[in-house]
Symmetry: C2
Subunit: 429 residues, 2 copies
């Protein structure tokens, strides 16, 4: 674990480089699969599920009895934990509701903005041995609050054609309409075009590997929106001598266990803190079940010593971390000065894992520096804002002439005429 001392600005870009994405290589595969799903619907979905997931399904959709039986296979403790998390996520996202914004910009010119739910949404949940059921809470809870009328979920089946019971239990708890045993590119394609069984949706949410990520991006060229482009998960911790090195090490490791391409960065203004954190990592990493993965991610991690809080915050803002933990003597300084971060965890008792599961904030967040321009998933991710306006005769007299002049200057005579006819009718009354 090498520490970089006060890197010069011209080296920040190289130092904090994220792994390159391979959009073009995967795009051809996505194009093929999408074309097949467009043409053959369910048949294509079943073919790819057999090919990639190694299982020949009889039914794409999870049956009622499968869903009902799931509950008994989840421990009561875990069910309580999931319910507590759901309740907190509900509280935080419910509070994000906004009233319509109404303004009379001129006498007789009333404009307002109101939000309406995106009616059909699709949630993608990766499978594997340890399914990310927590992501169902993060997506379905705000979708329900927004009032989306159709919420479907796709997740890959295991080799027996089954979905993990915790996934099914959580989906049912959240009131998801339909659960489909489809993963990967074929799941994104099915929700993009619709098949006999899987409905076409207007927006697709959820994490996934690089195939899913590219498929989601390609889906946006077919009239479907996505939550955000995704990359490997990231954590940046800023810590100084007031931090607990054991805690910091455990946070960095909780990021490192996600995968070998996880981005783990520690920034400090205190050299001893870095040394102590590195020691704690060496100790803690040995007992982790996912140790091998974590070791590789830690090898790629960066430990950066900066000379003061100002230069540290500049470096952090340049990076724009997905997760950002602050454990310093002046946490507020970083809260105020960092513009680019997905979710911010403040103080020594606020580990990232709190927000990953149960505090109430969303864990679907912008990676890959996208915190510079994307929000994490929030209530408005499931809404669209529509504007309305109503103009009276008085309103026409206030803005009519300006509209005529501007339309004429843009060479749009029919735009002008639409206003002129109204002005004349009012004049001739």
């Amino acid at each position: 674990m090498k520490t970089i001392h006060n890197p010069k600005k011209e080296h920040w870009s190289e130092l904090l480089r994220r792994p390159t994405r391979t959009f073009k290589d995967i795009e051809t595969t996505v194009d093929d699969i999408f074309k097949n799903i467009q043409q053959s619907g369910d048949d294509a979905v079943l073919k790819y599920t057999s090919m990639f997931d190694g299982v020949d399904l009889e039914n794409i959709e999870a049956s009622k009895s499968e869903i009902e039986n799931a509950e008994s296979q989840v421990s009561d403790e875990l069910k309580s934990a999931i319910k507590l998390a759901k309740s907190n996520i509900h509280k935080f996202h419910e509070a994000q509701k906004t009233e319509p914004v109404k303004v009379e910009t001129q006498p007789g010119v009333t404009c307002w903005q109101a939000k309406k739910p995106i009616q059909k949404v699709g949630l993608y949940i990766p499978g594997g041995t340890a399914p990310l059921f927590s992501t169902i809470l993060m997506l379905a809870v705000p979708a329900k609050i927004a009032g989306c009328s159709e919420i479907v979920l796709c997740t890959p089946p295991n080799k027996e054609g089954k979905i993990n019971p915790v996934t099914l239990y959580t989906a049912q708890l959240c009131g998801i309409d339909k659960v489909f045993k489809v993963g990967g590119i074929q799941a994104i394609g099915a929700m993009t075009f619709g098949t006999e069984t899987i409905p076409k949706v207007y927006k697709i949410f959820g994490p996934g590997n690089q195939y899913v990520t590219v498929a989601k991006q390609v889906a946006t060229t077919f009239d479907v929106a996505i939550d955000m482009p995704a990359g490997p998960s990231e954590l940046l911790v800023v810590a100084d001598e007031t931090a607990n090195p054991e805690f910091v090490a455990s946070d960095l490791l909780s990021q490192a266990e996600h995968g070998v391409d996880s981005q783990v960065v520690l920034v400090s203004t205190d050299e001893q803190t870095i040394v102590d954190v590195q020691k704690a990592i060496t100790k803690q990493i040995e007992v982790l079940p996912r140790m091998e993965m974590a070791i590789k991610a830690i090898e790629n991690s960066k430990f950066v010593l900066m000379k003061d809080d100002a230069s540290a915050s500049e470096l952090i803002d340049f990076y724009g971390p997905e997760h950002f933990i602050i454990s310093t003597k002046d946490d507020d300084f970083y809260v105020e000065n960092i513009n680019n971060a997905g979710s911010v965890f403040i103080g020594k008792y606020t580990p990232e894992s709190a927000g990953d599961y149960a505090s109430g904030t969303n864990h679907t967040l912008p990676t890959n520096g996208y915190a510079k321009q994307y929000s994490g998933v929030n209530l408005d991710s499931f809404n669209k804002a529509i504007t309305y306006q109503k103009i009276t005769e008085e309103g026409i007299t206030r803005i009519g002439e300006a509209v005529e002049l501007m339309a004429e200057a843009e060479g749009l005579q029919a735009h002008k005429n639409a206003m002129t006819l109204r002005i004349n009718e009012i004049k001739n009354k």
Copy 2:
């Protein structure tokens, strides 16, 4: 002008089909130009400007004196009109500011959401004989309110290497930092990668032809966000016997003059209204300077008679129009029942052109059915929402165990450990 009577639901999709987009054909051209700009920066920009705009520029950036001289070339009447529009747009978008949302989800677990501006934004304004300076107001005014720190504008030069003075005047009035004489794919590429002269931005806004549209979509695969994908402009009017057929005809024509692929739809529950509107169109179209374009767009337009308001509103919601004018005896019925529309104009004195220029609402809106899942440009288009959380010792005791259980169930032991270390430290105090 053919009228379709009570079309069956299974024919709606065909009836209201929008023009197919040609993403793949243009993508190769975009890839080439992007690659060249990445490699050669300004040199490539100058080469493509010479090739596509037919002018060899000495300076890519508009000079101070060009900008200052522009003001004297704009009439005082037009300047007043632009200022009135700007003031209304400012009022409506300023009202969209939101306070941070703060919730204590459990005692000791405080979560909040706050918006921060996207620091660097790029605005694209199409050129041509009649430049759309009104779009500068629609993009720059909310960008300024949000607090974006760098706002740059790209617009193609004319054959003399100049930018229309109204464009320059409006840009200066809105406080835009830099104006570049670059159009088309090369403008989007330059703002995506940055060149020696043109800064890389985090998000690109603005309309454009199909080349610009595909370039923006490709830009999203290079760490840049865009306002929304775009298609030809659209207007749907629902009108009955209480509407003024002359007004309705003028509104439909104001859409038709945008281009031959403009989408113009009239829905009515009254057959005579359709007949009267068609007559008024025939009369009004003859005096339009852009008559030829309008005639072609009207040929492709749809006049649909529906049996009642309920079926009419269902058809409209299926279509999801960018602009939606309501002129009926029960306007509120449509306001309440339509879920999918970009901007809604209510009543006979509310032409689309009011919102295009001066009422205060934004005119950068979702076309191509995207009203189903995208908002038009609004204040939040220039912000991102960041979440924050701070947990106390009490908070840890409230949610710590749930986090441990969920992390373990997802097989993420290091996530669990980050919480366990804190729980133990508190216990041992």
